[in-house]
Amino acid sequence: MSLRAAIKTSRSGFALDVELAAGAGETVAVLGPNGAGKTTLLRALAGLIPLEGHVELDGQVLDDSATARHVPTEHRRVGLVFQDHVLFPHMTVLDNVAFGLRAQHKRDASKVATEWLARAGLAERAGAMPRELSGGQAQRVALLRTLATEPRLLLLDEPLSSLDVSVRAEVRRELSRQLSGFQGVRILVTHDPLEAMALADRLVVVEAGRIVQGGSPAEVTAKPRSRFVADLAGVNLLRGRGRGDHIELEGGAIVAAPEAGEGYVFAVIHPRAVALYLARPEGTPRNVWRGRAEDLDLQGERVRVRLSGAVPLVAEVTPSAVRDLHLAAGAEVWVAVKATEISVYRA
């Protein structure tokens, strides 16, 4: 089973233009900030909104604007799991899980649904109404309701984001377990990097309706190509023009980096590689700039200092360094980065 999709759709000033391929048993996480078009992409794959382009699942054409082919949602055999469970409020848990089976005229719908519930340890909730369930239970039932119809393509729209942090881990484990037993293609939309890393084999980063980066979670975070990915990887991302041994940033600042090369490049600097001084340091670092501490954020054993200046960066220092430097919001400092600590790759 495999999915191939090239989707263009635009609605009320927002345009989505995305190509996506996924294989059987693969979980692809579509990651991106809110409003990037992730949900629109899922709705297009589900056949709920008109699109321009082509969607093919297991060799069957589901959408093709060139030949005006459109398979309606109910005939696609795609499973859709929403952010909040969207269980039918007027049906019991059992009837919710059996709904899809009955819609497909399967025999023994109730029996099969009961088995699904039993396997998930939810048998004793079969007679409950959705409003009587906890958030975690409801989302698990919603997942079962979808899986029971044996979809070929599973579309998960931020399935954990409406849950309390306390139950999120539990539901994530369950989701992970259920997904590993599912044979079809899985597309998971999320803005939570943790959710993406925990569940996905491959990441696709979408911003402003376009794919900006794809690859394994390790590949994506090693070489961020957008501010969003850099932020979630917790690193500084600079973009500029390579000039042999240095990079010229858009604002005109110069960053020394031995392998800058020529043309547009990204430069990643880990916050721990950013050193702060009260006086201009004399020594080996070739990158020394004036900076101003905008705010300080204690994270565990480390303090993250957001710096403004010609080269805006985040530095990670120890609490004792903060004391020694009398660092507070508004403090003027010298910022130094060793050229060898900067990794450069093509933009």
Binding site: A46, E74, F82, P89
Partner: protein, 252 residues
């Protein structure tokens, strides 16, 4: 300000007080079984329930279409469906007459080809009541549809449910509160219908004389009967008001 408010409230209270004070309580039993009263009551119940049923069958699909229409078409359709709510009922009756009367737009061919004559029949009462009362149902159901979370329907479709199954198993049950309050309002309006009925269906005891018409006629000849029938309509109105005090205007 308080004085004016009190005067306003009195305007509502005094007529009701008058009705209750003058009520011939000893006559209620005998009046109810009096043949004219009983037949008016029976006819009213039959016609208003039938009108409500017709409104449900026609009004729910109309509300569905309305809720999915946008732009000018929606404005026009909406204006047409709500018109009977603001139109003087007598004008409605005249309009119905011109459409379904023996020389009317539809009435003429109906009479010439099939010999069917609608005015002055019980069917005409039902048509008049539906005409006047259906907007209440349509508006309540349309409001329910607009407030509804359509992801339930999308979830149902993704689970493989056909359009009809989605409608019957998901949309309709989720709309039940809106349909219920719409139907009650519609029925109450149908029950009290006077102007369009008397214009289009006439005032024939046993055939088209519903309770409001009977009240109007009886006030001249048998005031006690008129008061008893009025009390019944008042009791029904109060029961609806009390029973639906939470969702009544909220759903409109």
């Amino acid at each position: 300000m308080i004085g004016l408010a009190a005067a306003g409230l009195l305007l509502f209270v005094l007529p009701l007080a008058g009705l209750i004070a003058r009520a011939p309580w000893g006559q209620v039993g005998p009046e109810l079984v009096a043949s004219e009263t009983a037949s008016a009551l029976g006819l009213s119940v039959l016609c208003s329930l039938t009108a409500t049923a017709v409104a449900l069958v026609l009004g729910i699909p109309l509300a569905l279409v309305l809720s999915r229409t946008t732009g000018t078409a929606r404005g026009v359709m909406r204006a047409l469906t709500t018109l009977p709510m603001v139109l003087p009922p007598v004008v409605g009756g005249v309009a119905l007459w011109l459409a379904f009367g023996r020389r009317g737009l539809i009435g003429a061919p109906l009479y010439q080809l099939l010999g069917i004559q609608i005015p002055f029949t019980t069917a005409a009462v039902v048509i008049a009541e539906t005409f006047v009362a259906m907007p209440f149902l349509v508006i309540a159901v349309e409001g329910g549809l607009r407030a509804m979370d359509h992801r339930y329907e999308e979830a149902a479709r993704a689970l493989g449910a056909s359009g009809w199954r989605v409608f019957a198993r998901v949309t309709l049950p989720l709309l039940r509160p809106a349909i219920f309050s719409g139907a009650v309002l519609c029925w109450a309006r149908a029950l009290g219908e006077f102007g369009a009925t008397i214009t289009f269906a006439g005032n024939l005891p046993g055939r088209t004389q519903t309770v409001p018409l009977a009240v109007y006629v009886a006030l001249e000849t048998r005031p006690d009967g008129a008061i008893v029938l009025s009390l019944i309509l008042l009791a029904v109105s109060l029961a609806i008001l009390i029973g639906m005090r939470d969702r009544w205007l909220g759903s409109l």
